[in-house]
Every structure is written in structure tokens, then in C-alpha cells.
Symmetry: none
Subunit: 208 residues, 4 copies
DNA sequence: AGCTAATCGAGACGGTACGTCTAGTCTTAAA
DNA sequence: TTTAAGACTAGACGTACCGTCTCGATTAGCT
């Protein structure tokens, strides 16, 4: 089945080295400071090699981010009021890391408002249809996890039976993105809990 | 009071002409297709003049978007279940317009998924601190309107008294951005109503 | 006869202040570092005022140089073998000063080879016909002096009667310019004497 | 011996095409009318390629002039009174060509006084130390030829044995430059002969 | 005292050259 | 076929510079 490869095989360690270098550059200097030329030079490879594996800078940047967020696991303790903020916080942490990318290194920790490189990466996905597809796949996996969590909670009776799960998750995740991208305010555990609470209780006055 | 003006005054019509030209380019070709050189040439002014008023391309792009969204008004009929989706739809329409910017004009209407130029503009705000500030101001104005709408509804008794207004609006607006930027799905009136409904009713199972 | 001036008279002290500032800039930074904008600002005047008096930067630069070389006097002791090198040395000193213009100030005195700003000033004269005319007038005055010196020496019997005075002076002055502009070698008293000696004695082998 | 070449080799024909285009522009429009952008476009290459080979406009301009004067050969018939004016005339022709560069083409032949682009090129050499070095090398080669001519004549007994060859050649070449650059008068065969005659005979009254 | 004419200060404006930067492709030779 | 090295394309972006223009405010002489 697997057709035999001809010619010189790719050196496997190059991928790792490139991603490592690119990750450092992206986090230290932001998207604008990530230059294929420099990545190639620092990784000790030729540009040809780089472009053979990641056909555009946008592909490379996505590869970096994908690896950074790979590890988002979800835990299900059976209590949605605990699990949901915990998961949101994980998402928030990933956003915060990208938001801080490219800010002054000698910082006091306060990086000021603003979306950092998050928007650049979304823009990259917009420019390259292929990257956009990959991004959506990545988010689809995440959504699947979150949706399953919510559906289990619904089935347990914690959430109402006719809940619009998609809309709910859009709201929760969306709020995080909105904060980071638009208002520039930080997202942290406390905020994740406010969101959860507001979403679960509902805004309407309780009927009695 | 009004301190005397010194020097040659700026020609006022230049602003209008430039924004007009830039708007057309941005909408037709997207952020990447907006070139200061071309704007200057089409507007019949020198590049220096352009850069004196908008010191970077990012400033110019923001100016375009700011004017496009200038007109978002809010109407308050006294029924939050009607006013809220109406306002969300206006925001959505603005996003959709920017999302479509730069896609092929001879299109069938279906522009495919993806954030279009929305992310580019947020990235611009991230690159230029000054633009970021302006963006946040613009959104702060919008938020103030929305917040007032929600607070009046709360005072009327439509919403619960201890509602976290900020979190609620983040969720609603955020969901729109999340859809456009991340999942690439369209945002329309129907979606605005799903959001409103989900947010108002709350996700939790009604007690008793 | 002199028709009465109408309107506000020019402020006389401005000329002096501008030339002073321009001279310092030209000598410190060379022709390229002489900027009308900066001259105006440092002299505390408006650009309008500057350009009313010196219609181009080239005119201004020439004005600076003209004043620097104003004082070249000629002395006639009756001995051409002494007077000629003395005069050449004066010319050389002026050239050296301009040659050094724009070189590092913290220098050890050795400014390296190269023509410095001399060529820039000649280029200025080439660009502006009016300045060229002024330059040629300036040199014509100098030539007249030198020519008179040589003619008196000829009449005294120091030089041969059928001497081509113009060619001789071209050779002497030209050698100075050639050194400064082309070979980049320094011109000093010793060199002035070598020139004088070579020119007076002639290159041809003395006949029997 | 010859170490192996790495990377893509430079396309050799680019040099020729660029120089050709640049030469035409320089001669037709003078130094000020020589624009790297236009050269690149007309030569059909990218600006980066141009700047890789000639890092500034000044380098490019020098390359043009260097090639124009490449072919100055010297002939030695054994009669210094014939060879010297002939060689001077060649130098003069080169100067005249550059002097005329950029003057109106529809001219009557009379280009008026002034140094044309000669001064611009010397100024270029002054601005770019590297170009200055190249210029001095070029002139050093020329000087070597002339010096050899003079020395052979001296050895033959045409010139006096203790002649200061350097000073003599400075005088002759310098006079040409002085005329072109300063007095703006034309240099031609007749002038070359006046110079030679004056220099060889000497200015001093012949002793008897 | 008002009128006229020119200067002055401040800064916008035009026009354009110059060079830098970046992403990505192509062409060699060697492995 | 991959890899290294580096030339090449294409063009955007912003800066620098010179000189012009347009205001309002002055400052003189003339009427």
C-alpha cells in the first residue's frame, strides 16, 4: 500500500528544531517578529527546507500555536459549575500567553491591554484557506469536548433539557476572545466564574 | 478662549476624499489590498500629506472602520427581548461587512467561512498602541450604550436585579466575534435571537 | 533715484544669523548635513523667510562659502618665487577647510583622503545656473588678482615675455583642486612650493 | 584551489544590462536624473537585485563612469610633445562627455559653461568612502600610465632629469579639471597643447 | 488714522527619490 | 529527493528632503 519513497529521506529532527525556534521567536517578538529567514538561520537549515514543510509563514505560525495548545485536556467531575470554569480558564490561559507574545521582556508582568498576537494568528488563518481549515479543525475538536461535557451535564439534569448547547459555548468562549481581542481586559479564573454564573443562571428575572 | 491658529490650515476635504478612497479599497480588496501609496494617488494627494494625518497604514485602516460603524444607533422599545437581538444584529452586520471585505466580487454571495479582514483590523490595533487605544474607545462607547439598555431593562424588572451586566454583554457580543473570527460561521438575525434566548433564560435547569 | 521701498523692511540681522548657523552646519556635517529646515529652526526664523533670501539650498551653501573665502588677499613682495606659493597656500587652506567639512569632529586631525564637501559645492553650482554664475564671478576676481601678480612679474622680467598666463594659473590652481578632489592627497605649503618650482623651471631639458 | 561556489550564482548578464541602462540615463539626464528605481525597471530586474550589487546610487553611478573611461589607452611615439597633448585630450574628452551629461538634447551644441555631472560624481565619491576608494584606484591606474610616459621621456633626455613628475602631471590633469569644474570653459585639443607647451618650457625667463 | 505693500512665523502641502524590508521562488552543487 | 546556500522577484512601506503655498500677524511708508 504505502508506496516506496525515493530519494533522500527528510531529516526528522528538523521539524522539532524549527518549531522550537519559531515558538521562541513568536512568543518573544510576536507575529511580526517571526521571520522565516531568521527561523531558518537559527535552526541551521536552509529556507528551501523550511518552505518545503511549511509553505507559508502563516502555516508555520499556526504549527507553533497548534503545538502550544495541544495539551488542553478536559476533566469531568460531574459538577458543571466546577468543570466549566476550569475549562474556560485553560482556554483563557492559552489566549493570555499569545496575548503577551511580543511584549517587552523586561516587564513587570503588566503587559497593558491589547490582543497581542492573537489577532495576527486569526488573520493568518483568514489569509490562507488551508490554515483556516486547520484552525477550524482544531477548534472543532475543542468544541466537541466542551459540547460533550455540557451534554453530559444536561443528561444528568444539571442543565435544562432544551438547552442550545452551541449558543451557550459560543457565548462562553466568545466572551474570552472578546475580552482579549477587543476590550483588552485580562481573562482569569475569577472572570471565568462570572461568566459561568451569568450563563447558567440566566439574565431574565426569575419567574415565581 | 480659542487659541489662534498658526500656520497653513489643513485642507478639510482631504480627509473625506482619503477615507472614501480607502474605504472602497478596503472593502473591495481587504486589508492586504489597502495600500497607502495607492490611496494617496487616487485621492490626488501626496504621500506625505497622507502620512501626516494617518501615521501608519494601520491608523488609516482604523479610520475607515471607525467611520463605517459610526452610525450604530440603539433603539429602546421597552422590550429587551426585542431590542437586544436588534442591536446584536447591527453589530453582526458590521462584522459581516468586514468579513466579506476582499472576497471575490463576482461571487454568488456565499463567501465561505473565515474572518476576512476583521482579524487584520484587530491585529492593526495590536501593532499600534495608539490605534488600540482608539479601538477600545470606540468599543467603550458601544458598550456604554448596550449597558444602558440592559440597565434600564433591569430597572424595569425585565432582568434580574443582581445581573452582571458586563459579563452578559461580553457573552453576547463575544459570541458574534467568536463565530466570525473562529468558527467562521455566519451571524444573522436568527442567531442573534438564539443568543438572546439562551442568555436570558439561563442554562441551568429551572429549580422546583 | 533709488525708488522708495514699500512695505515692511527686511530684518537685517537675519542674514547674519542664518549664515552663521549655516556655516556651522556645513562645516560640521558637510553639504548633505546642511538642511534648510534645520537652519531656519536654529536661526529662529520661518522657512518662508529663508527662501525669500536664498531661493535654494544651493544658493545658501554658496553664500556660506563665499563669505568663508572672502578674505583671500594677495601680497606682492616683488619676488614671484615667494609670492606665488604664498597665494597658492591660501587657496589650498580654503580647500582644506571645505574638504574637512563633515568629517568626524572628535578627530585626530587626520581626516583621510577624499574631497569632502568641495565637490558638493561645485555640483551645486552646476545645478543652479545662477549659483554657477556667482561662483565663476568669485573665481574671476581671484583670477584677476593672480593674473595681475603674474603679469607684474613678467613685466619685471621674472617671467618670460610670451608666457601664457591663463594656462599657467590654470595649472597651478588646477593642481590644488585635482589633489583635493581626485587623488585625495593633502595640499600644503610644501606642495605649493613644488608646484611653483616645477611650473617656473619647466619640464623640458634645458637646452645646452 | 578555486573554492566551490555555494548557492545560486549571480546572473552575469544583469550587470551588463544595468550598466547599459544606467549609462544611458546618466548621459541623457545627468546624475540627478539617474534613479535606481527606473534603472531597475528598465533593466527588468527587481530593486533588491540592483541594490545587492550596487549598494547605493553612488556606487552605480561610479560603475557607469568607470566603464566609460575604461578604454583610455596611451600611445608612446617617442615624442613627448606629441604624446602628452594626445593623452590630455583623451582625458578632456571624457570630462567633456560627463560635463555635457544631462544638458538639453535638442541643443545647438553649445552647452554653456559649468561642470555638468562631473562634480556630482566626485561628490558621490566623497559621500561613499568605498566609492572614493574605487575612484582613487581608477585614477591611480591612469596616473601610473602617465607617469611611465613621462619617465620614459625623461630617460630619453626629453625632460630634465630631476623633474617632479607627480607635480607635473597634477598640473596638467588638474588644469583640465579646473577648467571644467570651476571656470566652466571648454577643454579641447588646442588647450591641451597650450598646457603642454607652458609646462614644458617653464614660466621663468630663460637664463642665457 | 487708514491704506497699501511687503515681511515674518507657522506649518500644511506636493512631489519624488531612496532605500529597507519581507515573503516566497528559483538555481546551483552536494549528499 | 532532500539539503544548503544564496540570488532573485515583487512590491509595500515609510522616511527624507526640498521647495511652495496659505494662513494670520506685523511693520513700515504713503495718503
Amino acid at each position: 500500500m504505502s508506496e516506496t519513497r525515493r530519494g533522500r529521506p527528510r531529516r526528522a529532527e528538523i521539524d522539532a528544531r524549527v518549531i522550537e525556534v519559531a515558538t521562541e521567536l513568536l512568543l518573544r517578538r510576536g507575529y511580526g517578529g517571526l521571520s522565516p529567514d531568521e527561523v531558518a538561520e537559527r535552526a541551521g537549515i536552509a529556507k528551501t527546507t523550511l518552505y518545503r514543510r511549511w509553505p507559508t509563514k502563516d502555516h508555520l505560525a499556526f504549527a507553533v500555536v497548534a503545538r502550544l495548545q495541544d495539551d488542553d485536556e478536559i476533566t469531568d467531575t460531574g459538577d458543571i459549575r466546577r468543570d466549566l470554569p476550569a475549562y474556560l480558564e485553560k482556554i483563557a490561559a492559552g489566549l493570555e500567553r499569545m496575548r503577551r507574545a511580543g511584549r517587552d521582556p523586561g516587564d513587570t508582568g503588566d503587559t497593558g491591554p491589547g490582543p497581542g498576537s492573537v489577532a495576527d494568528l486569526l488573520a493568518a488563518a483568514a489569509r490562507q484557506p488551508e490554515v483556516g481549515e486547520l484552525v477550524r479543525e482544531m477548534y472543532a475538536r475543542r468544541n466537541t469536548l466542551a459540547r460533550a461535557l455540557l451534554e453530559r451535564a444536561r443528561d444528568r439534569g444539571e442543565l435544562r433539557p432544551d438547552l442550545d448547547v452551541e449558543a451557550l459555548f459560543d457565548q462562553l468562549a466568545g466572551a474570552l476572545y472578546y475580552r482579549v481581542l477587543v476590550t483588552g481586559l485580562p481573562v482569569d479564573r475569577a472572570y471565568a466564574e462570572r461568566l459561568t454564573d451569568t450563563a447558567l443562571r440566566g439574565a431574565a428575572r426569575e419567574r415565581n
